[in-house]
Symmetry: C2
Subunit: 242 residues, 2 copies
DNA sequence: CGGGCTTTTGACGCCGCTCAAAGATAGTGG
DNA sequence: CCACTATCTTTGAGCGGCGTCAAAAGCCCG
């Protein structure tokens, strides 16, 4: 299945209205954006944009999860970002991206044609201010990721990843009891700088220790949260929302 | 030696005028910035700001090199950024940083008081636009770094690091023949997610193979550039400015 | 010349990768 | 409805790259 045009949703009813690039916009500004927006859908596994492709649009993720990844010549792959609803795809002032963007689940984007968007951007501080904020947040996340990739053990990487899923589910209000693993073992490995075998082994180990329990291969519960936190290698309460 | 106030330099004569956060500003805007700026100097090894400190200023690096790093409880450390002249320190909308900022060499900063700067930022699209651009560039660099940390071998990490120094010296116009290693082995290790012993061994290995040659412990030349590129693990011409 | 720091070098062991195969699950078509 | 296949996951055996620990060598500055 290829790019699907989904039906337009009113911005006022949009689930990401208050977190996306348009978060700070007032009604007039939203109306301007509304004129140049369209919805596009992708099915799980589809590539949204290849590294180096000319981008006709910039977009916000409305539903689903997308991955950003880079590949070395010999095939080694590293995920360099995970896009969740409200995250932004695109770079003002540049027409290409230096990584592949792939739909990890079914994904719906709210897309703006690049040129009109950039024109709007220049005239609308509310958008560029929000864009700075979002870029800085992503930079913070990337830096935490660098610590994980450079210094943490396989066990700590897995524990940190799970802890991240827990935190996110709290933020989303998708409160317990069953959490979804939104990625395959291979994708998790690509995210954590591991091999899929090591990911599998570490998950099994945490299961054996009674830290987590699987109801399904893609659904699990944290059964010993203190042990999980301990396994992350971070400070006891490092940034955790409890 | 503690924070030194250096003498003010006219913006028009500033070496980073065209690359820093003020790059897009017109004369009026520069004048506004000039009113709230001051220079501060730090000696090599001094900590410019600790993780979590309240920041009274945001700054641009004018001279020297500073490092951004994070530490896990048990002491493991990962560098998460390297600040060169024109790079920016600070986050609009937040008063603390989540990493330590340390002067790797003697450093001079052009600092702005945080509150007046943020007021200016809200009214001056030229500044926030430039800030988006710089944040995005840093994000790109962080993503390349994630690939290095997650997937590259020790040899490839070292080669990539040296290649980066080479590229930068070209950009700076500091053209050959002797390049300075701006960091100690330990700092390089912290940057690359290695131990200092491994850094030393890999440098020795490249020296033995005739890829690089040291004139001094902190100065070297690339003697076989093709071999160096080959050792990085990147595409043959991956982003190299020749 | 002496003390502290940085760097080099060596020996050794372990964590995580590689290679291999079997088991589980979901989707497909007969 | 079930066999068939493709994909994802688990598990095992073995090995090697890099970390750890230790000590010596080089360098800087008083």
């Amino acid at each position: 299945m290829n790019i699907q045009l989904a039906e337009r949703v009113k911005c006022s009813e949009c689930p990401i209205r208050h977190r996306a690039v348009c978060a700070r916009c007032d009604d007039d500004e939203i109306e301007m954006l509304d004129k140049i927006k369209s919805y596009r859908s992708f099915t799980a596994g589809e590539t949204i944009s290849w590294r180096g492709d000319e981008l006709s649009h910039v977009s916000s993720v409305v539903h689903g999860i997308a991955t950003l990844s880079k590949t070395l010549d010999d095939g080694r792959m590293q995920m360099v970002g995970l896009l969740l609803p409200s995250d932004f795809i695109g770079r003002p002032g540049r027409t290409t991206l230096d990584f592949d963007v792939v739909a990890a689940s079914d994904v719906t984007l709210c897309s703006f044609e690049r040129k009109p968007f950039e024109r709007l951007l220049a005239e609308t501080p509310h958008i560029s201010q929000r864009l700075v904020e979002m870029a800085m947040d992503e930079l913070d996340a990337a830096r935490d990721w660098m610590v994980l990739l450079g210094r943490k053990t396989a066990r700590e990487k897995i524990a940190t990843f799970i802890q991240m899923l827990v935190q996110r589910s709290h933020v989303d209000g998708t409160d317990l009891p069953d959490l979804a693993l939104p990625l395959t073992r291979e994708e998790i490995a690509s995210y954590l700088g591991l091999t899929l075998e090591t990911v599998s082994r570490q998950l099994t180990q945490l299961k054996k220790e009674g830290v987590i329990a699987f109801s399904d291969r893609r659904k699990f519960t944290v059964t010993d949260h203190a042990a999980l936190l301990d396994a992350t290698g971070d400070d006891a309460d490092g940034g955790v929302i409890v």
